[in-house]
């Protein structure tokens, strides 16, 4: 895991998009509203989502548990989650 440091919203969002792009390289974020369920819009299946959690966890340097998954549904709540989690540590 990389060194954890607090992320601001813009950094968190760009980290999320980069991570999704690792899985769906041509993900079109113009189709995803901040409060859309991005898994549905971008067609991420269960295995994709698991990979995404691993990427986010590694890149942001935070632990992400099963109970956090409900906070990783939309781009806006995932951003909020990463900002808070990197601020307070995991």
């Amino acid at each position: 895991m990389s060194q954890m440091r607090p992320l601001n919203s813009a950094e968190a969002l760009s980290l999320i998009k980069e991570s999704i792009t690792q899985i769906v390289p041509d993900a079109d974020f113009t189709l995803v509203e901040p409060d859309d369920k991005f898994r549905d819009v971008l067609e991420l299946d269960s295995l994709d989502f698991l990979s995404l959690v691993e990427l986010l966890s590694e890149r942001a340097g935070v632990l992400i548990d099963e109970e956090d998954y409900p906070d990783l549904t939309t781009l806006s709540d995932t951003t909020r989650f990463l900002v808070e989690r990197t601020r307070r540590g995991s």
Binding site: D26, L47, Y69
Partner: protein, 610 residues
Amino acid sequence: MPWETIRKDTPLGTAPNLRDYDKECASFSWQAARGRLQGLPGGRGLNIAHEAVDRHAASERATAVALRCVGRDDSVTSVTYGELGRSTARFANVLRGLGIGYGDRVVTLLGRCPELYTVVLGTLKNTSVLCPLFSAFGPDPVFQRMTLGDAQVLVTTADLYRKKVAARRDALAALGHVLIVGEGADDLPGTLSFTALMADASDTFTIPPTSPHDMALLHFTSGTTGIPKGAVHVHEAAVAHYMTALYALDLHEDDVFWCTADPGWVTGMSYGIVAPLMHGVTVVVDEGDYDARRWYRILAEQRVSVWYTAPTALRMLMRTTPRTGPYDLPRSFDLSALRFIASVGESLNPEAVVWGRDVLGLPVHDNWWQTETGAIMIANFAACDIRPGSMGRPLPGVEAAVLRRGEDGRAEVADGHVTILEEPGVEGELALRPGWPSMFRGYLHDEPRTAAAFADGWYLTGDLVRRDTDGWYWFVGRADDVIKSAGHLIGPFEVESALMEHPAVAESGVIGRPDPVAGNIVKAFVTLRPGFDASSATRRDLLAFARRRLGPAVAPREIAFDQHLPHTRSGKVMRRLLRARELGLPEGDISTLEEPTSEAASTARTEQPA
């Protein structure tokens, strides 16, 4: 590592349907089993929809809940057998009104919404043929299967239609009607509103005479080479659906049953719809995707008593709650209604069997079958000891054998005869003696590949197994190159063909790379055309291209560049060798390998980490 046998010497709370395995096998006959079904009134034949719906709708079970559908938003909708009887009658009338009848093909491309169940069973009532497609397929697999299956009607949503069908609608010659479930039909030319058609249709329908041998379901599956194969199943399959659910899933009428498989695949059709409804139980349907918390909540809130799931899902649950503990997550839910767990899709590792016992308080019962068999063939039973890692023993009425393999890895056929390996512990190809009612009746429009699936009076499964001294079967691997990923069968040829359409790709070889969660993930080795760099940009481009075409369920998750793919002398890419190298295994028989030698090819590889 030897795993201790899980004994079943304490009496179970619910007396199992199959109590004495040997006795049941000895007295079993498919003919007698047929007698448990009602048949169409007036001796008009056998129809799956009558056994699954109308039979109950006309009895005191009419008010019992047939489907309990949990929406993505957690809303719960209940459908009784009586209601399902009426909605399926409406849909049969809708089809009839469109001029669709006996033998005509109706394709579904839908999520696990309540309408799917109406469409499936209504189609069967109308004696039309239902062909389910997985909604996570991309446009290419959808188009190919619709073409091969002669799709005349498609039932889908506006979103799926726009993304996966609309662009090539004109090339689907047989497709006469597209029915849109939910909103959006008004904005899509050439489509009809499912809701509007249903509203205008009568809710009574008399099922026409149906022969047990009439085609009912068309399930596509993948082979090593060539295009997908459409396995044809008939109404008589219901006899096997009923009996196997009785024995291997131990269904009782008061059960709440949840099969987590999507009805786009054979498991979700045979055991997510047909078999449990035949037993008159309540079927839980979850429209949402896997999520550990969500799944435990559904098990608890819906009071699920029998649960049929898959190794990939179990392994995901195991990651969240390892056997070493703590068990806080599952223990925070009331799983007291649960009494039996079974798994299918690929072989279940012994850790998962034991994990179930320790963490959920119930061992997981692995079983084995495939698209062609239509129903469970080999299983661990509620009343029988479990040898963790074994798929169990053949069901009553099922005769299995292990056949000696020839040079190509498949069962050896000499002068039309196979060799049965009687000695225990020896690896060979699993074969089944035809005669069970849910056996596929051939691959649609493909007599050569149908014929190739049989030899000397046996159906050849393509799976390698060994049988121990006491008759328990153990999965060893595939005898061919098809890939099992997350329980789904993926044909390497289909993936290679899609990749070949990218301008950068000269050639590719696709294999399954072992993965701790999915069993295997699809990995492609790609030879680039001159002028293209083996760069990460090219890799991303190819991954995106394949995913767009094939969808997440089929697309490769990993791509490696290799300018020197190994070939057979006849010029085919040797997937077997690619896989052996990937696994660091001995490369086996390479006598059919062309120059350069395997060593040279190996050192010439320009693979980069994904």
